[in-house]
């Protein structure tokens, strides 16, 4: 009887691997697993978030340095700097950085047609959300009372969940990375938690 071992990686890699069960099947299966572990990224989903659930997301990352990033299709510098954000996540995730990326302004149609395909292309390894608060103002104020909603915006939190610095005046990649390094240096040791 002919049988197939099917590894569905549709969500992660956008394709399906089919391996015929044969003498070499287990070796091929092992190779496929290795390939997946080396290249797989979490499935791209956009979960709703509001000021209350954001607070909870930050709190449950206690012990890690948290970077909250806000971006939109309506913000060209956000799009241009997103690959750098993905790199930051990959580079510092193993050292204890956890990124929470929040898409704002884009409506449901835009998110389906543009935002999710964009994220699938950029392949972030961090959690991605969309802002879904009843009161956008309350959401903005909850991040920084002095901030008026300018994008892109990044907020860095220390391991105790306290906001230590806000970057709201355009793309400040070098300053942001330096601030991340400073906070990571204060962690007691290499974080063993997952980066999400």
């Amino acid at each position: 009887m002919r049988s197939y071992l099917e590894l569905s990686a549709r969500q992660n890699l956008g394709y399906t691997i089919k391996i015929r069960h044969s003498r070499g099947g287990f070796a091929a299966f092992g190779a496929a697993l290795f390939l997946l572990s080396a290249t797989a990224v979490p499935a791209i989903t956009l979960k709703p978030i509001n000021e209350r659930s954001l607070k909870q997301e930050i709190a449950r990352r206690r012990g890690k340095v948290v970077l909250v990033n806000l971006w939109s299709k309506s913000c060209p510098p956000c799009i241009a700097s997103y690959p750098a954000l993905v790199k930051l996540g990959r580079k510092y995730g193993p050292q204890g950085l956890s990124v929470i990326s929040i898409n704002v302004i884009d409506d449901e149609k835009t998110r389906a047609a543009w935002t999710i395909p964009f994220l699938k292309q950029k392949r972030p390894t961090f959690a991605t959300f969309y802002e879904n608060s009843k009161d956008q103002e309350a959401f903005i104020r909850s991040l920084d009372p002095k901030w008026y909603g300018s994008l892109p915006a990044d907020f860095l939190y220390d391991a105790q969940g306290r906001r230590v610095v806000s970057f709201t005046k355009g793309v400040e990649q070098a300053k942001l990375e330096k601030a991340i390094q400073q906070q990571l240096a204060r962690l007691p040791g290499p974080s063993r938690r997952a980066s999400r």
Partner: protein, 210 residues
Amino acid sequence: MFSSPSSRRSVVSLFVAGSVWVPVWALTTQPKSEAPAVAEIGKLAPAFTLTSPQGKSFSLASDRSAKKVTLLMFISAECPVSNAYNERMVKLAQDYTPKGVRVLGINANGTESVEEIAKHAKAHGFPFPVLIDVGNVVADRYDAQVTPHTYVIDGSGILRYRGRIDDKQSGGPPTAQDLRNALDAVLAGKTVPVTDTRAFGCGIKRMEKE
């Protein structure tokens, strides 16, 4: 000391350069002692004079003497969020200019050229001037962070409202007309119901300063 022709030419060049730059500096920064360093609701709004791409000067101080209500709108020619408000800004000017409100657009984005700003204003039929805030001096004094970011100043020069136009950045009928509510209240001599609002938009691209 400056006897050689080349030295004289240098001195003349310096003088000419100075005569050009000093008035520009004077036009863009006119701090008034009673106004706070950064604009605050309920306090005197910082005075300024800015010029349009056509070279015409507009001054807030002169508005005060004219007892006019002033609407400032920090906008952008490139920002998609600001551009989503173009028609609404035109309608605001059409609705409130006849009521005695002076409407001024301000572009403080260092990345947008004077030509681009003039072309954009013309293309969208702005019935208000768009002034160039060189070095984002006025944006800094108003702590304008985003486009669009609006300010309502009453006839006495007091800042009465700061924030969003409404709560719908991407179109559709807004549920909160904060700017219109503020303008209506100021024109009626009433208290502005909500004085400080915020909404997502493009950050003003500021000139880096030491």
